[in-house]
Assembly symmetry: C2
Homo-oligomer: 238 residues x 2
């Protein structure tokens, strides 16, 4: 995923005040929001800062967008703009695994992406494209239309839920200056020092609970789900 800075389609240089900004489309707004998100996180993403990013005052945004919610919808779609489907090779399991791993990696790559994506009902055009492709592969693998629709929803919930859980605490922890390892160690220590009479399992399994890194956890869950999906197919297509 290269090319972040200026899109170079239109030089966004400042214009004389009061004048229309030629490049100020909803699309440019979305990309500006993306840059602010990367720099300041979702908590720091304000209408005022996005406006400044495009060289305009906050009130002007309301000409292009109904409110902040709508800007977040735009951002949501922009976040998916450079997501790519996995190669159409291998069996359905490897393709589906590729989908989920890429989706996770894609969300992890942009700051607070999971938080932005999580609560938004309407899939933008870019996500629609991916859904269409994924459904196509599910049908081809032999899943019924009804099952395919359910599976698509299930995988989306899993990946988003997982990334949300790994992304926000990490962001919070890194704010306090600690790295991934330190956070895990502190969590293990917390479990280990719990009263053993009341929490025998948490104490005994402190390392199991905090040791495995998140890649391993993600793949574990994903493989369990894929195993479960296989059971829906006739035996000769598993």
């Amino acid at each position: 995923m290269p090319a972040d800075e200026d899109d170079a389609t239109q030089p966004p240089g400042p214009t004389r005040p009061g004048a229309a900004h030629p490049g100020l489309t909803r699309d440019a707004l979305a990309r500006a929001a993306l840059r602010v998100l990367e720099r300041e996180g979702l908590a720091g993403l304000s209408m005022r800062k996005v406006a400044a990013e495009v060289g305009v005052k906050a009130a002007s945004l309301y000409w292009h967008v109904r409110n902040k919610e709508e800007l977040l919808d735009l951002l949501n779609d922009a976040l998916m703009a450079d997501a790519e489907a996995p190669p159409r090779t291998g069996d359905w399991r490897t393709q589906l695994r590729g989908y989920c791993r890429r989706y996770r990696a894609h969300l992890l790559a942009k700051r607070d992406a999971a938080k932005v994506v999580a609560g938004r009902l309407a899939p933008g055009p870019h996500l629609l494209r991916l859904m269409e492709d994924q459904l196509d592969r599910l049908r081809e693998a032999g899943f019924s239309p009804a099952d395919s629709a359910m599976i698509s929803y299930l995988l989306g919930a899993y990946v988003q839920g997982f990334v949300l859980q790994e992304q926000s605490p990490m962001a919070a922890a890194e704010t306090t200056g600690a790295g991934r390892r330190e956070v895990a160690d502190a969590a293990a220590e917390r479990f280990r020092t719990l009263p053993a009479a009341e929490f025998p399992n948490l104490v005994a399994m402190a390392d199991d609970l905090t040791g495995p890194d998140l890649d391993a956890r993600f793949d574990f869950g994903l493989d369990r789900i894929l195993d479960g999906l296989a059971a829906l197919l006739p035996p000769d297509r598993r």
Copy 2:
């Protein structure tokens, strides 16, 4: 889940200004935050409103709590205060299903609960109690310590991800005045009217994608996961 209003352990009646508020513990603060959340949603939960709820000014809260983040940690735990584990009867599948269904129902019952819970790393004492119990049942079912730890995390991510996805759009939709049925119908219409050449599957499967209600979708995903987990056990314990 009854008994919401005043906990009645301490009458929170107003005191003379400047005087200490006897009932103003961190616990009382958490319960006040819970009431504000129920009334105003997470977006409307401000330090000022929580302070008013306990009859105090905003600045006073900083005596009891480092910042808003810490208040949200308290709220997070308060949200889990009256969660109950399912009965310890039936095989591991029904117990685990009970766990996930109850967790979902519990999150759905409180406004914006999934959003509060989602990004918080440190499980509060109430959640710890549930984790301990769940791990115990997993071990008893025959899962290894390592697998049990992974499974606990997997189920948590699934339920939270799922509820987050169903709760926030619904809240947004209901703000605009529409009910569940109308939202689903509008989504189906959106899929159905997409260009059929580019999105053949979305168009054809519009009803499958939007028809099943969320209870059905949740159970579908849950059963797939449970199927997948079964494969980890020796054949005689499935």
